[in-house]
Every structure is written in C-alpha cells, then in structure tokens.
C-alpha cells in the first residue's frame, strides 16, 4: 500500500533521513519505533507532504506521491494524525471532526462517518459543542484520532498517540488502534512506547539516527537483544 524507497531528507543543512526504505501492506499495523530525534516524525512528514525529501521515492497504491501537496495526499486516502495532536483548539469538537471530512468524497458521507466515529469514541459525542482546548489530554487524543478517521482513510499514520497520556488511557488508545485495523484500516504507528506497540503490531521498523537499523515481524523484534537492551530496559 505504502512503499518508501531510499529516502533522504534534510532539515536545513542537517541530514535527518539516510536511505530509508519502508513498506506497509494492506491490512497491517506497522510500527515505526525509535528514540527521540531518530527521525520518525520527519519520515512521516515527508510522506504527507509537510517536508520534501531530497531524494528517494514514496508510492501510495502504486502512485508516486513525493511531490504532491498535503491536501492531495489526504484526498488519496492517507490520514496523518500528527504528533502533539494539533487540534484546532479554537473550534469545537464537532467542527474539528467536520474539518477532518474535508476531502470531497468524505464530505458527502460525513453524517454517516460521524456516527461511526461517535461509536468508537462515545465521549466525543457528549463533548460535541465544547472547544477542543477544554478537553482533557486523553479526550484530545481521541478527537485527533476521530478527526483523522473522518476522511475515511485507507491508511492511517498515527504519530505518538500515547504521548503525555495516563497509563490507563494509553491502554485504551492502543485497543482502539487495534480495533481500527480489524475494521480494515491499514496503520503506520509511530511510537516510543515500544512494548505496547510491538504487542499490537504485525511488523516493525526500528529507526536510529535516521537509518533503519532493524526490520521484521514483532515477535522477532521483541526477542532481539538489541531491542530488549535499548528500548525495553531489560
């Protein structure tokens, strides 16, 4: 579904991604793990057009997308739920969700999609007319994910959903991500919470200093000495 080949990217004169290749197949949860500053967010920002790669290719459903603007990539069916949630804090919950359905086809179905999103996140329905900024951290993450689903995406890129949340809420978020996959949405999950992520994912890529240092199915990764030492503190 998503195929990244030999991607290089810079912030100013500093190279952040080195020859990164990554593949996400339909129906998978693929985890992208690594520590702070490893280049995880940079990688997904190049996928959704927020940053231009200097070389390499990105294909979505066999179409090259590396030179397309963000809104076109969104229309093609990639939803990027950004790091730090990036809600429209001065708009209410319903308006945030509506903006999520901005692509033309999604807009037509937004009534139905909204019902579906409310089923997954019942609390958003109760909070409908509240400004996004007044929600708790967990609710804000739910809203960010709900907003990301409103475009009826084929691929959901979820960047650090557990960041800053209480442990109980983190478990809830991971459960929901798993249920999204069961509903047929393909997921690329970027996380620092390595254990939980590997438990719900099918395959994983480990990014260190802008390079992919390990890739494989999650059981293999969990068993790896390097992962145990560097990420699981064992």
């Amino acid at each position: 579904m998503l195929e990244i080949n030999n991607l290089n990217a810079f912030y100013g004169s500093i190279q952040v991604l080195w020859d990164v290749s990554l593949k996400v197949n339909k129906g998978e949860i693929v985890a992208l793990i690594g520590s702070n500053g490893a280049g995880k967010s940079t990688l997904v920002r190049t996928v959704t057009g927020l940053l231009r790669a200097t070389s390499g290719s990105i294909k979505f459903l066999d179409h090259p997308i590396e030179n397309l603007p963000s809104h076109v990539i969104s229309e093609m069916g990639i939803s990027h739920i950004p790091e730090g949630r990036r809600l429209f804090t001065d708009m209410n919950v319903l308006e945030n969700l509506e903006i999520g359905a901005y692509p033309r086809n999604a807009w037509k179905n937004k009534g139905k999609t909204l019902e579906h999103v409310f089923q997954i996140f019942p609390r958003l329905k109760e909070r409908g007319h509240q400004l996004a900024r007044t929600l708790s951290g967990g609710e804000q993450q739910m809203l960010a994910m709900g907003r990301g689903l409103m475009s009826e995406p084929k691929l959901c890129i979820i960047d650090e959903p557990s960041n800053g949340l209480a442990p109980m809420v983190v478990l809830e978020v991971f459960d929901i991500i798993k249920s999204l996959r069961d509903q047929g949405i393909t997921i690329l999950l970027i996380e620092q919470n390595v254990r939980h992520t590997l438990e719900i994912s099918d395959r994983a890529y480990v990014l260190e200093n802008g390079r992919v240092v390990m890739e494989g199915d999650c059981a293999t990764c969990l068993a790896s000495e390097h992962i145990k030492k560097a990420y699981l503190g064992l």
């Binding site: 603007p69 809104h71 229309e75 950004p82 990036r86 999520g100 907003r147 475009s151």
Partner: protein, 288 residues
C-alpha cells in the same frame, strides 16, 4: 447630554466604515499573514471606480457595490496567486514571509496608486447621491451615512455566518490556526489563502464605494485609510476579525468625540491611541 448622543451616533456611522476596512486587513493578516500596505489602494480603487460609474455611466453607487466587490475580490485573489504565493514558497519560515510580503505590498501600494494617478489624475472628485437627511433622536444625519453603516453591519454579520457555517469558512478558520494541519485534513491551503486575500481586498473595495458616497476622493486617498486600518487592526488585536469589527466602531466613536471637542486633534488622537496601545497592551483588545 443630547449633544453627546449625537456625537456617539456620528461616531457609529464613521465606525462602521472603519470596521469594514479593518476587517478586510485583519483577514489578510490573520489568515494569509500579509500585512497588506496596499489595502488603502483597494479602497481608493473602489472609490474612484464608483465615481466614474456614477458620473460617466450613471450607475448608482449601490449597484457599484455589486460591481466593485467582485472585481476587487478577483484582483486580490490573482495578486495572491501570483506574487504572494511565490513569496510564500520561497520563504523558509513564517517570519521571513511576513517581512517579504509586507515589503512586496509596499511596492504594490505605489504601483496601484501611480496607475490610478495616470487613470484619474490628481483631482479631488466628489458627487452628490442620496442627499436626504434622516432624523435620529432629534439630530439630523445624512441618509447616505446610514446606508454606509447598514452595509458595514450587513457585511460583518454575513461574514461571521460565512466563517461559522460554510465549509470554506471553517477551512479558513482552521487554516488561520494551523495551516499545515489544515493541509493534512485535505484543505488546499494556497487556495484558501488566496480566497482570504481576495475577500480582504473586496471588503476594501466595497468600503471604497461607501467612502465615495460620503467624502471627496482622489488617487492619493489610500494612505489615509491605510493608517486608520492599521490603527484599528492593532486596537482590535492583530489578526482578530471580531476585534477589528469592535475596534472600528470604538475608533469611530473616539474620533467623533475628539473632533467635536477640537477637530484639529482627531488624527493626533488616533496616533496617540496607537502609540499608547503599543506601549500598554500591544496585543490589542481581543488579541492572543
């Protein structure tokens, strides 16, 4: 006391115009991040076009609103699509864009103003339209000034509904808060920015039509209204559209009171407010 009420009503009539002018500028800055120094020139274009339409083609200024509004919208839209979009794509960050776009708009101001001098000459123009007077609470006001206030209020309300109810209005608000994330949601940012710039220009153009109904106009008038616009925009809070709306009326009332006491001090009072505001509350009434 009755006299005071008259002064306040006169201030509201003037304030409507200020509010309209400042809302347009606020929209251009708040969303498109262009502090458009050519804003006054769009007012001038609206005003002189209306004069020509009325005196040469006998077209009523009220109809001129429906002509000048769309034309200035298209003009603003195209200017953004060409000049500002190019600057935006070559700017590495927002700060750089804000300064280069302001300088570019400064140049634009001279280009438009000098073209207008070529077309209309330097003469001061005026016409008589809707000269009836209306009595409000005993005081007499020109009907044309009431029309002006009516238009300003109607456009303010219509624009509020547009922003809060329509799809594109919501996209504009999202883009104002976080353009990159709005893009991720499928909003075509460059299009939204150009629409905002066009709408801001159209508000200036319509304000120009209204100005020409009440005051003499000429090709050099832009700068005077630009100054008012900048003061109101800072007063209301840079980029805050409701702030500009309220600020416009506030400055109108203050101006009216000061000119009642000492007409020569009106402009002085405007600048004094501007300076004090920057020192005491630089974020303005509703700024963040």
């Amino acid at each position: 006391m009755e006299k005071f009420l008259d002064v306040v009503i006169a201030g509201l009539l003037l304030g409507g115009l200020y509010a309209l002018i400042a809302m347009g500028m606020s929209l251009q800055y708040g969303v498109a991040r262009v502090l458009n120094l050519a804003h006054g020139e769009f007012i001038m274009l609206g005003a002189l076009s209306t004069w020509t339409l009325y005196t040469v083609f006998d077209i009523s200024p009220l109809i001129a609103v429906a002509i000048c509004g769309p034309i200035t919208f298209v003009l603003g839209f195209l200017i953004h699509r060409t000049m500002f979009r190019k600057l935006l794509s070559s700017s590495t960050n927002q700060g750089i864009f804000e300064s280069t776009s302001m300088l570019a708009s400064f140049g634009l101001m001279y280009v438009i103003s000098n073209l207008a001098f070529m077309a209309w000459g330097p003469e001061i123009r005026g016409y008589s339209y809707l000269m009836d007077t209306v009595s409000i609470g005993g005081a007499l006001f020109g009907a044309r000034r009431l029309v002006t206030l009516g238009f300003a209020l109607a456009i303010g309300v219509a624009f509020y509904i547009f922003l809060s109810r329509t799809k594109i209005g919501k996209a504009i608000r999202a883009a104002a808060q976080d353009p990159a994330t709005a893009g991720l949601m499928g909003v075509n940012i460059n299009m939204v920015l150009a629409i905002c710039f066009g709408l801001g220009a159209a508000m200036a153009g319509i304000a120009g039509v209204l100005v020409s109904m009440c005051y003499p106009v000429n090709a050099a008038m832009g700068i005077e209204y630009l100054t008012v616009a900048i003061i109101v925009v800072v007063l209301g809070g840079l980029g805050s559209i409701p702030g500009s709306f309220i600020g416009g009326f506030l400055l109108g009332i203050i101006g009216s009171i000061v000119s009642f006491i000492e007409p020569g001090l009106t402009v002085v009072a405007y600048y004094a407010i501007f300076v004090i505001l920057l020192l005491v509350r630089p974020k303005g009434l509703l700024g963040k």
